[in-house]
């Protein structure tokens, strides 16, 4: 199987490429294709240099590397879309950072590559993993041109990984012992599904007691408002103190409940200029690995729902993967009505935004 990284010269793209090589996801005759996503790049030869550097660094384990900036030459069985713009890390610009601006810039990237894949890969469509934000917009556009079963967005997958880690860190255990999901939007519309949390080695009774302590009184129905309130506080801290504000914000986030940290810690990290590319890349590579192996695994990801669980459009949900998406997992009985309502509300809000960002008939 071959893997294509679109936007391989960006920070996140390069990190994904490096992790794929380091983790030996591909054998030496399989192809890792590096694709530039910006036809007007000021650094058009960067990927050729990056390829040579990778070969120098990992000669013992390097797969076949191919570089192109032509969307029609994409050959990956799995295509990761990580090109396009991201928010500036400059504290001075925090007030003007908006998903609307990102959407306006990245809709062109999504359209360009989705159209091309539809043209060249109609019979053997690749599995496309969207990393670029707004991830829901990417899923909507690619799912228009390719079978929806072949398009998934990273947002809910990485949010769930963070959710599991934040719970694990409060318990002093490793992340792999915690299961649980964040669904809805990869943004302010994310919904913590506390009912899905299971801690390996803990009985349900033990978990119920611990859960109360971890959540610190924040009810699921109050989560959206709390998230917005704390986010406003972070913006204030970072914008009023450009030098130390981001570190202060990180300290502030540390004392919040785990579900709020999922959304707000990456926000604070971004403005330290470290961005969140290592964690995003690690989660992406984990998902690429699962797709390449074709094993049956339940994951949370942005997926183009068509009425499953009463959800419509590209919303973070739970899907069964086995190479491609096999089906949307039905909501578990124990999922609370509040959780269901918030996820449904999030899906509607996403659709509303997408209709402003992108005209489906273009």
């Amino acid at each position: 199987m071959d893997v294509t990284i679109v936007g391989a010269s960006g920070g996140c793209g390069r990190e994904i490429v490096t992790q794929i090589v380091q983790q030996r996801l591909l054998e030496n005759r399989e192809i890792l294709q590096l694709v530039g996503s910006n036809p007007h790049s000021q650094r058009p030869h960067l990927l050729h240099g990056f390829r040579a550097d990778l070969q120098d660094a990992y000669a013992e384990i390097i797969p076949e590397l191919n570089v192109t900036d032509d969307p029609e030459k994409i050959i990956g069985d799995v295509v990761v879309i990580t090109g396009g713009q991201t928010f500036s890390t400059a504290p001075a610009e925090i007030g003007s950072a908006s998903r609307d601006t990102l959407a306006k810039a990245n809709v062109l990237v999504f359209e360009r590559f989705a159209r091309s894949l539809a043209l060249t890969r109609r019979e053997y469509p690749p599995v496309v993993i969207i990393v670029t934000n707004p991830v829901e917009l990417g899923v909507a556009i690619f799912a228009k041109y390719l079978p929806r079963t072949h398009v998934i967005g990273m947002g809910a997958y990485s949010d769930s990984a963070r959710f599991r880690w934040e719970i694990a860190s409060d318990l002093g255990i490793r992340r792999q012992r915690v299961h649980g999901y964040m669904l809805g939007e990869h943004g302010n519309g994310m919904v913590p599904i506390w009912s899905s949390v299971r801690v390996h080695g803990m009985t349900e009774d033990e978990w119920r007691l611990v859960e109360l302590q971890l959540r610190r009184g924040l009810r699921t129905e109050d989560y959206p408002a709390a998230l917005l309130g704390h986010q406003r506080r972070l913006i204030e801290m970072i914008s009023t103190d450009p030098k130390n504000g981001a570190v202060a914000a990180l300290r502030y986030v540390r004392d919040l409940p785990p579900d709020l940290r999922v959304a707000l810690k990456p926000f604070a990290i971004h403005y330290t200029d470290a961005k969140t590319q290592t964690a995003t890349a690690a989660a992406t590579v984990e998902l690429v690995k699962a797709v390449l192996e074709g094993r049956r695994v339940e994951v949370s990801a942005q997926y183009m729902h068509e009425g499953e669980n009463n959800l419509h459009g590209p919303c973070g949900g739970r899907v069964l993967l086995a190479g491609t998406v096999q089906r949307v997992m039905p909501d578990r009985d124990e999922m609370t009505s509040t959780e269901r309502t918030l996820v449904e509300r999030s899906a509607w809000a996403i659709q509303e935004k997408i209709s402003q960002w992108w005209r489906d008939d273009q």
Binding site: R29, I31, N66, T68, K73, I75, E123
Partner: protein
């Protein structure tokens, strides 16, 4: 586009390095496609004085798979040019000579 399995020929121009044939063969084996015939020659001089390789491969596949394979072959560092032919378009002389090679090989005792 036909939706039937048929014979295809690809003629590859390669850079003529060690490992080129392994890289090319992996494109087929990695997708579970059996190569029907594989004939190749290195050390063909180019006008510039360097040498290049020429490889012809025949295999059976659906047309969509054939096109996908051509794209993958073209992405290999080993491959400079890919030319593909449907069964009906294979040059007659090439088909005849390839058959001759096949018969000559079959006649070698071993």
């Amino acid at each position: 586009m036909t939706n039937e399995m048929q014979l295809w020929l690809v003629v590859l121009t390669t850079r003529d390095h060690a490992g080129d044939t392994a890289a090319i063969a992996s494109v087929f084996s990695g997708r579970g496609i059996q190569i029907d015939s594989f004939i190749g020659f290195g050390s063909n001089p180019k006008a510039s004085g360097e040498s290049q390789g020429r490889i012809m491969i025949t295999f059976h596949a659906f047309e969509g798979r054939f096109r996908a394979l051509c794209r993958v072959l073209a992405s290999l560092e080993a491959v400079a040019v890919v030319q593909g032919f449907a069964d009906a378009d294979i040059p007659t002389a090439l088909r005849g000579k390839a058959l001759e090679v096949k018969l000559l090989l079959a006649a070698i005792e071993g």
